[in-house]
Amino acid sequence: MYFESFNDFLAMGGYGFFVWLAFGITYLLLIVLIGGSIYQQRQFKQQLKATIAREQRVKQYQEQQV
């Protein structure tokens, strides 16, 4: 560990605000990108699954009518 104490680590030799701002925004953006990509795929799969299920119900109903 380069820093003497945890407070020193947070202070970053007086540049704490800028260093933690940079790292904070980076990790925020990466989390949004990864999470968003996973969410997008999950959302689409659920939507498609519902569509397929509805189509099958309609088909079943039509077969009963005949």
């Binding site: 030799g13 007086g14 990108l33 990509s37 498609l48 397929i52």
Partner: protein, 243 residues
């Protein structure tokens, strides 16, 4: 010669191939990212001139290098999409564009947070900063053009064409610090003899590798979504999702 590549142009094969790679790539990327960043931020000595503010380098440089790497990958896919008319190549272009845009934004924002304490300004209209901002707009342009035409095929072609033309910006970004008199410092690690001490270089190289692997992982993930969306009427997708 490219016969071994042929099956991967088929969306179903590519979907399963990406699915196999994805967990491995994602775990490797996150482990390397945490390792490189924690090493860089807590276990390396401070810079003799810039003090601890230089630690921003451990995200700024990887994001900047890979924002250009992502563009090169996207443009290669666009080339394949235009020349050989392979649909999955165009979906790859659209899968990579948002990742590249986020990397570019990270490079710009961390650069601003580094510029303020060192240069005294959040932003200057310097050659390096301006050309990097243009890279961000190129990514936005590629994403926007795809949906801007009522005929999807025209949109796909135009956005791939923009991705290809935009390659001209890559050497401009790289050499901007040599061609123009700029505030931004010159290259340190892409020189034959890196102008950086090994104790600082190693964590930086690990972080660069982490951003590269993360780019691959996210491309796999987003390409899978794109394949499902575009092939949703195919029997294999119906069976996979519905069954």
């Amino acid at each position: 010669m490219f016969k071994w590549l042929d099956p991967y142009a088929k969306s179903e094969t590519l979907y399963h191939f990406c699915g196999k790679l994805l967990p491995f790539l994602m775990v490797t990327a996150l482990v390397l990212l945490l390792l490189g960043n924690i090493w860089g931020i807590a276990f390396t000595p401070a810079d003799y001139q810039q003090g601890d503010s230089y630690r921003i380098i451990h995200i700024h440089v990887p994001a900047a290098i890979l924002s250009m790497g992502a563009y090169a990958a996207m443009a290669s896919a666009a080339f394949v999409a235009l020349v050989w008319q392979i649909k999955v190549a165009h979906w790859a272009v659209l899968a990579i564009a948002p990742i590249g845009a986020v990397y570019t934004a990270i490079a710009l924002i961390t650069g601003m947070a580094w510029g303020k304490p060192m240069w005294g300004a959040w932003w200057v209209w310097d050659a390096r900063l301006t050309s990097q901002l243009i890279l961000l707009f190129l990514y936005f342009g590629v994403m926007a053009l795809d949906g801007a035409f009522s005929d999807r095929k025209v949109g796909a072609k135009v956005s791939s064409l923009l991705a290809l033309v935009g390659v001209i910006n890559l050497p401009i970004i790289h050499f901007s610090v040599e061609w123009w008199n700029t505030l931004h410092q010159g290259a340190s690690i892409t020189k034959f003899r890196p102008a950086i001490d090994p104790s600082m270089l190693w964590p930086l190289l690990i972080s660069i590798l982490a951003f590269a692997v993360l780019l691959m992982a996210l491309t796999c993930l987003r390409l899978r979504t794109a394949i499902l969306e575009n092939e949703q009427h195919r029997p294999w997708v119906r069976k996979l999702v519905g069954g």
